[in-house]
């Protein structure tokens, strides 16, 4: 049997004193936590707390300026190449070309990731986009665009999903349709940014609270009260 060399209990994400600044402004400082494989951490914090910066560091798109970050056993940024293709990112932007159709966008990403094109049909059917998959992304509603972006993020069956408000713009039917791809029990470890405290807690195994770029909470979800999360936004 093939092994990763990290063992089954190797954390999907392990951060030790991670910090990041933009010029003079410190966006993140001293972030330390370890997320087990297959687990979900819900990240809470007011606007500007550093959530998106954290997500981009984990995606390998930003370098940490302090501390050490390991994602899927790869130390970032030195070994980022080992994590490429194993992470799915769903950020603020859908990362889809507006003038291409949904199917063309997914084919392009499938080719980059070496994924069989048949997987695209599975995904668009799964999220209820099959009938609109040949329309340019710019003509789709926000909800439909979000479904397409979720297909893109889950296309290559990533081991780690980085999700920034994944259910934004989705109607209840859409939210239910994407659950098998990005929801709890989908398989991969998840870092989930949410402003909906109740929903985030329901989805999580661990809670990370950020305030002004600092780690205010890191605890198993059972140990975190809803009021404590809400105070992060006060």
């Amino acid at each position: 049997m093939a092994t990763t060399g990290q063992g089954d209990s190797a954390p999907a994400v392990a951060l030790e004193g991670v910090g990041r600044a933009y010029g003079e402004r410190v966006a993140l400082r001293e972030i330390t936590f370890a997320l087990p494989a297959g687990a979900t951490v819900a990240v809470f914090g007011a606007n500007g707390a550093g959530k998106t910066t954290l997500l981009r560091i984990l995606a390998g798109l930003l370098r940490p300026h302090a501390g050490t970050a390991r994602v899927l056993g790869a130390e970032l940024p030195r070994e980022a190449f080992r994590a490429r293709g194993r992470i799915g990112l769903l950020g603020h932007e859908p990362m889809l070309y507006r003038d291409l159709t949904v199917r063309e966008n997914l084919r392009f990403h499938a080719r980059l990731h070496g994924v069989a094109l048949a997987r695209i049909e599975e995904l668009v059917a799964q999220v209820g986009l099959a009938a609109r998959a040949d329309e340019p992304v710019r003509t789709l509603s926000r909800g439909m665009t979000q479904r397409a972006a979720i297909c893109r993020a889950a296309l290559h069956a990533p081991e780690l999903l980085l999700l920034d408000e994944p259910l934004a713009n989705l109607d209840p039917g859409g939210a239910a349709a994407v659950q098998p791809l990005i929801g709890r029990g989908a398989g991969p470890a998840r870092v989930l940014i949410s402003h909906d405290a109740e929903q985030g807690l329901a989805e999580a195994d661990h809670v990370l609270g950020l305030r002004g770029g600092r780690q205010a909470i890191w605890a198993p979800v059972a140990d975190v009260a809803l009021a404590e999360v809400r105070r992060l936004y006060a």
């Binding site: 490429r84 932007e93 990362m95 070309y97 392009f108 990403h109 080719r111």
Partner: protein, 224 residues
């Protein structure tokens, strides 16, 4: 890497065919510049070094328009992030964009060179056409390589429209000099006999040096 380059080129060609953002602008610019020279120089026709200078400066400035737009979709629509997270050789992006710019230049020249001949050139290239094609290909490779490198650099900045020409034009001076020197005798009667092969060699060397340089540094340009 070939499959990645093919996927990127296919995607970019589709985007260009849907949005028509680069090629029509490059074409319109070059043809209208020749029209302006036709009337502005107040001469029935050009030959020799003046014709070569007008042709190459016009083509270079048209190419800058393409360079400016080369990475815009990647920047504005999240293409960079998607590409950087994929398990592919990052040099594929450079090769694909350089091929695209080279293709745009060839497409522009298919229209612009006949327009140049009709509006300005006397005598026409005639028998010197094979030599002119060799100059065009080598110069286009140099422009595409440097243009892709500078386009990738410029798109990271807010002043993209300013940065790209400011960096690209000085870097491409050797291409203009060599291409114009090589073309000058071709635009004179019986010029093919006196074709200066050494300028073709200069263009080839330029392409090789900047090709290697781009291969070495492109990965770093994609890093934040």
């Amino acid at each position: 890497m070939r499959a990645t380059v093919a996927a990127l080129v296919r995607k970019d060609l589709r985007l260009e065919l849907r949005a028509f953002e680069s090629l029509p602008a490059m074409l319109m610019f070059s043809v209208s510049t020749f029209v302006l020279f036709h009337f502005g120089l107040d001469r029935g026709s050009l030959a020799g070094d003046l014709a070569a200078g007008v042709l190459w400066v016009t083509l270079l400035l048209a190419a800058v328009l393409g360079m400016n737009r080369l990475f815009v979709a990647e920047r504005e629509q999240g293409g960079f992030d998607g590409f950087l997270m994929a398990p592919v050789d990052r040099t594929a992006l450079f090769v694909a964009k350089a091929l695209l710019l080279f293709g745009f230049l060839v497409a522009v020249e298919l229209v612009a060179i006949p327009a140049f001949v009709v509006l300005l050139l006397e005598p026409g290239p005639g028998q010197a056409l094979p030599e002119l094609l060799a100059v065009l290909v080598l110069a286009d490779v140099g422009i595409a390589v440097v243009g892709t490198l500078v386009g990738a650099l410029g798109v990271q900045t807010r002043a993209r429209d300013l940065i790209v020409p400011l960096i690209a034009l000085p870097l491409l001076v050797p291409v203009v000099i060599a291409a114009a020197e090589a073309s000058t005798p071709l635009f004179e009667a019986g010029g093919a006999d006196a074709f200066p092969w050494r300028w073709l060699l200069v263009l080839g060397l330029y392409d090789a040096v900047f090709g290697l340089l781009a291969y070495a540094v492109f990965d770093f340009l994609l890093e934040e």
